[in-house]
Symmetry: C2
Subunit: 127 residues, 2 copies
Amino acid sequence: MATSPASAASAASSGTRVLLHPTLAEIRLERVLHALSDPVRLRVVRALAETRDGLPCSLIDLPVSKSTTTHHFRVLRQSGVVRQQYRGTAKINELRRDELDWLFPGLLAGVLEAARQQEARPAPAVR
Amino acid sequence: MATSPASAASAASSGTRVLLHPTLAEIRLERVLHALSDPVRLRVVRALAETRDGLPCSLIDLPVSKSTTTHHFRVLRQSGVVRQQYRGTAKINELRRDELDWLFPGLLAGVLEAARQQEARPAPAVR
DNA sequence: CTCATCGTACGAGAAGCATCGTAGTTTGAC
DNA sequence: GTCAAACTACGATGCTTCTCGTACGATGAG
């Protein structure tokens, strides 16, 4: 059996502000799926999936206000999908890809691929 | 490119009661993920995934009332995850597996596998 | 026809969630 | 110290969702 990737209870932080992340054992599939089921959040995840070192919130432009953006990033963090850390005044977001892959092999890849497929298809007129 | 599996606008029904299903083009990833993000519905999907020919609602025992069960099956049908058809007084449910695989290759398998993985893991005490 | 079974429709209540604006905190630059 | 930038906290609002009970409709068995 594989060993789990670098354990998640990371308290190591450059500054004082620490953000709570669920440990691997606390990540629940239902919560992850719910986090991914919002169009705005799915968009965030897709953007993060294309980077190697994460992005600050401010670089992902979203069709919602700043406070709503904060809300969505919190949902993603609390569900275990992203890791966030402060770096100066910015907050860097990155996918917890290795950890999710360890927990749920193929899930993230499946969702990302599905999102790509859907984008390549004509969107239905109304909904 | 693959051709789509047997088109979805099936009006062929033995009785009179017809149920509306989204066509392939109408199935949205976000809706599917949302449908799968409820514990009760995920349980249903897992049960259906283990059968070949579908199951009547009444054979999947769920920790909710009958009317709530109806609600969850409707969500699953409207999101495009299951197909339902009347058969006598019963209503048979089956996964739209081929169609989902065509739309979103690997997604369903990823989710089902993730559910299995999670079940094999110790559940966290509280949540 | 009568009846039991299976599922639906219709409210209705409680909870959750997405969204926003405004006011605040933290940080680095000057 | 002062200032701008990045993000958060809080409260409010309106929508969706999960849950239920009760009453109803459709089907097949007797």
